[in-house]
Symmetry: D3
Subunit: 283 residues, 6 copies
């Protein structure tokens, strides 16, 4: 009886050794230039997941049938991005080394870089699929290179041209859009060319990074920089299921700011995306 009543994401009560997927939260939003709050996301997602069921009527699958370990949240310093990214990298590496699937919940989008730097070491031939409203391709932001606005540019620094597929993009500087024409595969507004991208990624390991602001603010207002004109929940769900057929080796979900949507609908949606992702990516 006296086992502590530990709070995990619903249905993710497996122990580490038996798990296939390892979920961890990264409460970090130190470089967010506009409206902070993504630091609260992983805690809120875990807590509010109890409004969900473990069963997905969309995929006819149930979290009770898969093995996920929820590690909890990393404890990170604010004020030093490099240090925080290193600590994220250590955890990502340990999960990869244990032969498990790392499933990160941000935090601001910069956290992707900490995880990705380890993934690319194990999978040098990696491709990146990004769902996002923003290009995130700035060279720097007021002189700072480790910024959420630059994270895909930093990933490009590592893997180079034509390995990044961007979907749902509808905001960025003119220079970023023009630069992307040469260096990434950028799809404005929606998932129209997802089929082609999936075809090109076949045979490669894939890192999937989902900035939830790819969603329309009508279904997901709880984010720092809401951008009108985004995708619907159903469109995102279908895109996730399609991508999950690829050899996805790591993923992250980021940019929920639960404090910015007091109705709780954004957090509830994020919980559902996490559930569907877990069910889709589990092999």
């Amino acid at each position: 009886m006296w086992n502590r009543n530990v709070e995990t994401f619903i249905g993710c009560e497996c122990e580490f050794d038996e798990s296939d997927i390892v979920m961890f939260g990264v409460p970090f939003d130190s470089t967010t230039s506009y409206r902070p709050g993504t630091r609260f996301a992983s805690h809120a997602i875990r807590s509010e997941s109890y409004g969900l069921e473990t069963y997905s009527p969309y995929q006819d699958k149930d979290l009770e049938d898969i093995k996920v370990y929820d590690y909890g949240d990393l404890e990170l310093p604010f004020g030093s991005s490099e240090k925080a990214l290193d600590m994220i990298g250590e955890v990502e590496k340990d999960i990869l080394d244990a032969g498990k699937f790392p499933f990160m919940i941000g935090g601001e989008h910069l956290v992707t870089l900490g995880a990705f730097r380890e993934v690319v070491k194990k999978y040098p031939d990696i491709r990146v699929i990004q769902f996002d409203a923003h290009t995130d391709l700035r060279e720097d932001y007021l002189g700072v290179k480790l910024s959420h606005a630059c994270v895909l540019k930093r990933i490009w620094d590592i893997i180079g041209d034509n390995k990044i597929y961007q979907f749902g993009i509808r905001s960025g500087m003119r220079e970023e859009f023009y630069w992307a024409e040469e260096h990434t595969t950028l799809n404005k507004y929606n998932f129209n060319n997802l089929k082609e991208a999936i075809k090109e990624c076949e045979g490669h390991p894939v890192y999937l990074t989902i900035d939830l602001d790819v969603l329309d603010p009508s279904v997901f207002p709880g984010t720092g920089t809401p951008e009108a004109g985004g995708v619907t929940f159903t469109e995102l769900l279908e895109a996730i299921i399609k991508v999950s057929k690829l050899n996805v080796v790591a993923c992250d979900v980021n940019e929920l700011a639960p404090n910015l949507d007091t109705s709780g609908a954004s957090t509830a949606l994020a919980c559902k995306i996490v559930r569907e992702l877990l069910l889709a990516l589990n092999k």
Copy 2:
């Protein structure tokens, strides 16, 4: 001049004896397991209805032309569901006995049971049409049988197989979905098979219960358990107008939690649904 300036739902100032429809509020959310607040719904709907017009451009009808008595809210004890359901039943029975149409505003979905137990006495051959995001078909919830998560199961206990039509359902336990395949007509996500259901209900009295969380959280975030992937306002409005052609003998609208949507848009939408329902169901 010294008649009290009484607050009713807009345009519902008819006296009881002259009325055709009797509206009453049920401020009860005692079994809500997740986020409470539906107790505030009927009060908020009445108060915010003054942001509406009495005229519907959708149906070209006006509340000024129909006869609705707004009784106000029941005063219910919290902490004893059976007692509360009995008190709801008494009011429902009195309205039916007076030959008027009972129009209940919840509250949590459990309140439907209190009303339905009286309706089925008068109309034993009743059919139930449910618009909802959730199955509500649990046998019990942590051992409690009178719970909002079980309300349609309790109704099934009374009327049995193939008399319940469920639309918009997108959340529930695996067992509930599988059980429904044998015992109810469950339509996932939308109103796709509404036409067939209406055909089957022709010639029968119908109880219409609308859990407003059938709507997509983008148009209706103000509810305890928002479920992404729901129907639009226009889809719900059209479904209501279609069902209103049947012999609907009682109805309820429930699960608005006005405190959870501080923008007021959810309450405003609920007001509009109430207006359209009144205009559609009035014969």
Copy 3:
């Protein structure tokens, strides 16, 4: 170094003399009968515009390439609508006299009257295109003729029949809808007949007034009287671009109540509409 760090709408740092468009805010909501807050709109739009980029991927244009002067907000008295309208008119006149395009940000919809009374003096053959959820055609509101609910009727008083085109309308008194059949071109719910309206307006100067509550509350809950069943962001954007091909000589954007949408999504959307309007209307 010691130039004050002045806050303008993003990218609108041009000086008055060099500008083509002059933007000004009107923090006035004194006749709002329901939920106030539009007085905060222009300040919020200016401040939150820094979450935007200056570049529009929709039009492939950039605010950096056009010349807009942002005057700031008028200082208006509350409690005297006539006086406030006069002060708005003075500013509108000065902008017109200087040969520049006046771009007003409300405030409640009544402010349109102040601006329009000057525009019609310069352009007697003006046509009015209104995007709105409400008819705004009441003769008076509780005896008051200068009310947001009457603003288009006051404009009709000046220019008469068949010169006002209304789109997106879904709320009003029965009398207003019936009256409109004879006196204005009223399009319910959407932009279906916009093409015809544009054809009829060709060759005339046009005043464009956008009440943002034309948008569906799912994308724009931050307004005093949200009306379900509105248009999407993309539909509004396309309509704006179509209208911008006409000889638009003045415009306004009104009825954002930023306090009513704590997520900030409504304000962010309003910022984007302002950017797109500026880019589309600039000649």
Copy 4:
């Protein structure tokens, strides 16, 4: 059974003819220059009064023993202050003519003028006791004379020097403070000289006007212009009880903006002040 379940202030269910005190709400804040919301006060006070008991342990009195008629709220036009003040005056006059005590709940402080203009007709020798954070002695506000910032100056216009007693004042223009030295009895910050004022008012009819922002924002943040350094609830309660020994012939309580204190504590305090005032002023 079918009497409407009408919402009044708790324990104020007496009919007009039998009543001694008549309470009415004035949902008006049209001249509020800063943050609106007092229009919601009377409705909120009535609704939230059910969190109160009818019994006061402070005075050992019970609302069940006194006779109060709660009329509800006036329906007022926004945008025309003069018209609104006239309508307030009509109601105040009718109550006075019926030999009852008028108890008004604002609204912004300007509403006091509407009531006072009638009271002074019946009681020309009236004295005014004001509890407030602000002087409210401006000659005009941006040229408008009927403004909440001018309301005591307008009252002074009627009754002249040395008949107005101001307590708790801690904000105003330098000119107002200096002017008050000659024309009113202004007590800064607190109730220190209340005893003297009461002595001077003995034998005169008294109008008591309570702007709730006299309270410290720590106990009453829910007001448009919170001013640090105010009085405590207990101090206000004691002052009220002392003043109630005078021949108070009319009173008002104003400037609660319930929307600005989402905790509800400000509204709860206002309810308690109303209860205590009713119990103290009842003779």
Copy 5:
């Protein structure tokens, strides 16, 4: 490394067997008649405790030096108070049987009954010290005997006259105040007679129940029924330290509704009270 990052109250990471004090949360507010939300209290207190330090400068003690096990929250059904009270009782009994100090965090005040019914079995000669704004001495509430408004009456049913000491009381029905004169020791508004009560309790085991609404709403607005005129934080802290010198054998802290104070100050204060209580009660 792969130990789950479990969230407990700060500094309470001891295992059950080694602990002296066992803390547990009771997320239950099913009988709350007014504004719900205390169900969220224990979770919020645990989560927000990380804004605290473990060290108390008031007592010069540190949580690092004492042994507290934080069990987490009970999982309770809503809609059946008796069942919930039984489940609370089971946990309370197990803690007492293990020779440890039970420290309960509510939830609504009714939860005290579940714990107390077990404590009185072990300590029949118990005294109860209650800090509260409300009498809680109703015989029933709308016919329901297990209600938060009746909890001290239910305790009196068990232990009888002159064993209950009530402090800070400032709200209740007239009948309750008069009844208390004969049956309990009721101290209005403050802790003035605490010294005498402590003297009378010496030599007896004591149950301490703290309804946080004893605090003034200025320091603690986050509760369902805020009552102006309460005690300060410092007064409560001093009272707690004084009572802690007695033989306190069990305690609870209840009625925080974190959702009602969005500033977080109420939750932060509750965290501090819990810390100080743990430090004071530890022997």
Copy 6:
């Protein structure tokens, strides 16, 4: 007429060259470990200052009589504390070089370090007076030395023992309190020993740093880490006026998080403190 309507702190419209005091805002909260939001403080203070009067009845002084230049806000990068501190230092230096008084509005408390490093160059014999709830004397925070929790320790690194006077302190690690006994003059809870401190500082230049969380959360809930048991507004005001008699050469006011107090009372209080400070420090 076409001068831009620039928003400054009320009454601070002087140009730089003629000014005696230069105010600037620092929207930075990158190292805040708990709840962010102080980045919004300077903007909110400037905007909400229009709810103030320019006249202080406490000091009988008026902002219209003194010369303050409001520069606006610095534009700072997030994610690099050292860089941000350098940019703050540059501005502070320029103001000092121009012979004017630098008046900084934070932001988190770390920003004080950027300003102080310049002030100490000009005034090596400086003393520091700190009003704060927290010690801020940690050596590092999770390995990071430039953190708001360490800012006074960093200042001590520069000026050494017995030059820092701390007032109102009521939270910190045990080690910090013990360390302070040897190295600073730490006064717990209040201003009791302010007189002695002032005496010791006479003849020295003084840097005054006010962390607004020194105030009790009842008057100032809008801060990241509210600590019960603080000082009142009047106590803080009196302490400020006393300190202003010293040779204060620079100051800052920080840690308002306006987003955390939706009532606006915290921001209004901060505005008033800024006004009183400006009036008191002006020579």
